[in-house]
């Protein structure tokens, strides 16, 4: 038997808290809160040189175990076939607003100049892992393809299934041309494991983990994100209202 005071207290607390939840769910409130993302991005860009580097660590700082997150093994038959043939027939497509669309094999990408960096991977959940990444700077791929007028964003289309469709992410040209932004094909000196995004994944070191698209199949250069997925620029942005700018 619950005492009357306890019952009234519980109802009062629940009423207060469900009131809070109603405020939280209100579109106006969400709109106001969302405006802070633009403020944060502009403020960070204001105090950060566009080429300012993320901290690079030494081999002694490596995480003993580099945690993988999200998809550990894409489910599609296409991906399974690529994996079985060790990505011999896999091609990275670079298209959209470019002068010369590309279709590159893993060997061709491996023959391009590579950058190796030991950096910290920060998940939006709060954990961090330090790993050594090797890959081709995205800038070199974009220069080879040649951006056309109006190009503003780079979209990464991935092989892993998420919900109804495939994973996708996007960054702007400031991050795309940053010296540490690479399409990585190796982790800790080994070819990129499947759990970490084989054969190649994006590293965009000044943003959180969900921006670092794994299993990248196609790099599309676009003028606007409106036609990509739900229009907010990425899988988590569209499905769960995560920030597109994930520098914080």
């Amino acid at each position: 038997m619950i005492s009357r005071r306890k019952a009234i207290g519980a109802i009062g607390a629940a009423g207060l808290l469900s009131g809070c939840d109603r405020i939280i769910a209100s579109p106006t409130v969400r709109g106001v809160l969302r405006s802070a993302e633009g403020l944060t991005m502009r403020a960070q860009r204001l105090v950060t040189d566009r080429t300012a580097l993320a901290r690079e660590f030494g081999p002694v700082d490596l995480s003993p175990v580099f945690r993988s997150n999200g998809t550990a093994m894409p489910r599609s038959a296409d991906y399974a076939a690529h994996l079985a043939s060790r990505f011999a027939d896999w091609r990275l497509v670079v298209d959209g607003l470019v002068a010369r669309p590309l279709s590159l094999s893993l060997a061709q990408i491996g023959a391009m100049p590579a950058r190796t960096q030991i950096t910290r991977h920060d998940c939006v959940e709060g954990w961090s892992a330090i790993g050594q990444w090797t890959g081709v700077p995205l800038r070199l791929l974009l220069d080879r393809a040649g951006l056309r007028n109006g190009a503003r964003y780079i979209v990464f289309h991935c092989a892993d299934d998420f919900g109804a469709g495939k994973y996708y992410e996007s960054i702007d040209l400031i991050d795309a041309f940053h010296p540490q932004t690479i399409m990585a094909w190796a982790l800790n000196g080994q070819m990129l494991p499947v759990a970490n995004g084989a054969p190649i994944r994006l590293r965009v070191e000044r943003q959180l983990g969900y921006k670092h698209a794994k299993y990248v199949m196609r790099i599309e250069v676009v003028a606007s994100l409106a036609a990509i997925g739900g229009g907010k620029g990425g899988y988590w942005e569209d499905s769960n209202d995560y920030e597109w700018y994930a520098g914080i």
């Binding site: 469900s18 939280i24 403020l39 944060t40 105090v47 300012a52 175990v65 910290r120 520098g247 914080i248």
Partner: protein, 272 residues
């Protein structure tokens, strides 16, 4: 009132102080509750540059198939019902770290908690800076908060602690000014906890790490900063609880009125 003559009203809190107090009452509660939800996304704390599930956590809130538990170092406590394993409003068992009544929003959502936390962080910083400027200008810090000569003497501090322990709170003329324990608490929050919370928060931002790499060196890494951020939040919660208890003990009507209108009635001298 008959005795109003020997208990004068004094103008105690200026407008800037009152505005900042009530603005912060809202902001800090939103920050604490949305912060607990963000913690729920990864309820483990580490020291150093990195830290994930395979690494040793110095603090962890978790669940077994039947119990909730808090572990700090090698010690652990059963916290079933409050931490790690609790029932939500519908009576369903949840195994998140902090319970629904302590978080914003009450149902698990890391993205919504981040929207609240990172938007209100701007208000916290903007309000704090405005208060600092106003308080330098109106001499609040120098006149009301900085300890005077002799106040920091161990004898005086000990005397105040002993009086507070016996709940003999300052009365009469002595209540015109903050006592040394109040001054040290407020100075500690304004110039200690709040700046630490903001700076450790910025240290968790990969963008700010590139902009201001010294943040990582100052706090010994992103995961250390996350731990310090959590500990400072706990200290802030403790400050709020003690603050509320003291308001109740000192006379809630008079105290709340003074923080709303600025006017405070000096408490009667003891023994009269």
């Amino acid at each position: 009132m008959a005795d109003a003559g020997d208990r004068p009203l004094v103008y105690r809190h200026r407008l800037a102080t009152r505005l900042w107090h009530w603005l912060n009452a809202l902001i800090v509660i939103v920050m604490l509750m949305s912060g607990l939800m963000i913690f729920n996304a990864h309820p483990r704390l580490y020291w150093g540059q990195y830290g994930a599930n395979a690494d040793r956590a110095w603090l962890q809130i978790g669940a077994s198939p039947t119990r909730g538990m808090l572990r700090i170092g090698d010690r652990s406590w059963d916290t079933t019902g409050v931490l790690g394993r609790w029932k939500d409003r519908e009576g369903n068992v949840q195994t998140r770290a902090f319970p629904w009544w302590a978080t914003i929003p009450s149902r698990y959502s890391l993205s919504a908690a981040r929207r609240w936390h990172l938007a209100f962080a701007w208000l916290l910083v903007a309000g704090g800076l405005a208060f600092l400027v106003a308080s330098l200008f109106n001499r609040h810090i120098r006149r009301d908060l900085l300890p005077r000569r002799g106040e920091l003497a161990p004898g005086n501090i000990w005397h105040e602690i002993a009086d507070h322990a016996r709940l003999r709170l300052p009365a009469g003329e002595a209540a015109r000014r903050y006592n040394i324990l109040q001054k040290l608490s407020y100075l500690g929050v304004i110039f200690g906890l709040l700046p630490l919370l903001v700076l450790t928060g910025l240290t968790m931002s990969p963008g700010m790490n590139a902009a201001w790499p010294w943040l990582l060196d100052l706090f010994g890494g992103r995961q250390s900063a996350r731990s310090i951020h959590f500990l400072c939040a706990a200290a802030m919660l403790l400050f709020i609880l003690v603050h509320l208890v003291m308001v109740v003990l000192a006379g809630p009507f008079n105290e709340v009125r003074s923080m709303v209108t600025g006017w405070f009635r000096l408490p009667r001298e003891r023994g009269r």
